[in-house]
Amino acid sequence: METERAPLISLRNVNLWYGTVQALRDVSVDFYQGELVGLVGDNGAGKTSLVNIISGIVAPTSGEVYLDGQRITSFHPKLAIDLGVETTQQSVGLCDNLSIARNYFLGREPVRRIAGIPFIDLGKMRKEGRKAITAFGLRESVDVDGEVALLSGGERQAFKIARAVYFRSRILIMDEPTNNLSVRERERVNDLAVQLKDQSLLVIYITHDIFQIHRIADRFIILENGAKVADVPRNLMSAEDLERIIREGVGNDAGSPRSG
């Protein structure tokens, strides 16, 4: 019955080259609404490359990408955001020099037109920013007009997730969201991921921490040397097996030179 559903995102035979380096090799994968997918693999396995395509940061060298069955032909972050794809990344997404309110709406600032001239609606930006601060568990003392440079690591992640929710995203990609977080903050971020899945979002979760993701994900996709080597539901694989596959590899020919 799972297969009856149409996939929300579908990648077909996607290849990605950076100059002379092949980052993705013939990857085909489907993602469905309302699932939390763990995207795992060793460093350089192609996890970030894969999500960079979905979030429009890079275009695939060859292959097809479908969203809601529609073929995607141009790739740009703005387009992806407009189509409901939000990405929270470890290092990017927030401008430290701008206030929380301004970051919340960066790139999609609400405007009030006065005589046709678009003025940003600072009142709305402050109000929504303040709502996010309380709803997503940031410290009480955090000021909506303060710079985001003052937020803790966990608060930054929570803030990015809040932003994704606010813009009614259907797909949330979380790229290593719990790196450098305290145990408590990590729990908080993982709870948020599960909550969003329960609100029938598609959550794609990239991590190194196998045991952590095994507790919350519905399905795992394992990448190795840019190729998909496994795609298994949680109930078919233990965390130990998952970790062993990543550590030892499946010994496929993905690492050897390709022809054609």
């Binding site: 740009h76 972050p77 990017v92 997404g93 927030l94 020099n97 301004r102 003025f119 303060g146 003052l150």
Partner: protein
Amino acid sequence: MRVSLARFVLKRPETSAVVVTAILVTFLTITTGGTWLSFANLQSVSRITAVLAIMAFGEALVISTGEVDVSVGSVFAMGALIFIGVGRTVNLGVALLLALGGGLLIGLLNGAVVAFFRVPSLIVTLGTLFLFRGIAYGVTEGFYFGASDEVRSRLIFNVMGGANLGGVNVAVLWALVALLVLHVVMFYMPMGNRILAVGGNAASAYSRGVNVARVRLIVFALSGLLAAFAGMLDAASIGYVDGSFGELMELEAIAAAVLGGCSLVGGRCSLLGTLLGAFLLRAVGSYLVILGIQPQWFILLLGVIVVLASLSDRVLTKLLFRLQQR
């Protein structure tokens, strides 16, 4: 309460410019026995401040994105030369459009190379600085372009810098208009938010869907346009222009922006501060004139001011961060 007031004051990027300006004006007035504060001097200082400020506003926008435009001195000359040169031979209206259009085009050229090829902006604009300075000397061939009395009596000429209103040159009004418009664009319109975001963290801005290349192109185009406009205003109020017009002004524009609280690494901008920075520099220049000191001292001083301003910029940024973390 005391902390939050200190926080508010320190957070404003123009704070140091306001303080330094206040001290400086007092110092200049006292040491010249009041001459500095005379109407005649203020009249001239306000005009030359306005001209520099208009150019420095463009520089401030470029600096806000973390780039720099050193070509503005030559664009200033091109604006002035086209306006007077075409104005006295063809038509002032055409001259006005060509001068502004020329500045815009040079700005677009700088911006396109920086935005699309990612060549360091210092090198790109250093190239155009000398390219258009060479052209400025080339077309004037060592002479100057002067405006005839007939040209000087025309309305466009007077609106574009020729006239004084109540003793104040129209350039001052233009500077205030530019300040108001650009301040609103920077802080109350989406474009300003994006300019600051690109300067703060270009990768983050891009990931939020901001068209980073377009933002860079726009700030350079505006910088070119404003520099040419400033050159035009200056030439019209003086009445003639030569090949060396605007030499060294690129450094003054950068200094004004940095003194005014624009961070050289981008992401922090104050246009009001930039205006004060321009005033500060021009006030010191006029002071040297009143004291009868060789104008060459100003070049020396300018070098020191630029270095000190960027040093204090660094210190201030660190201090600010520490204060906010409390």
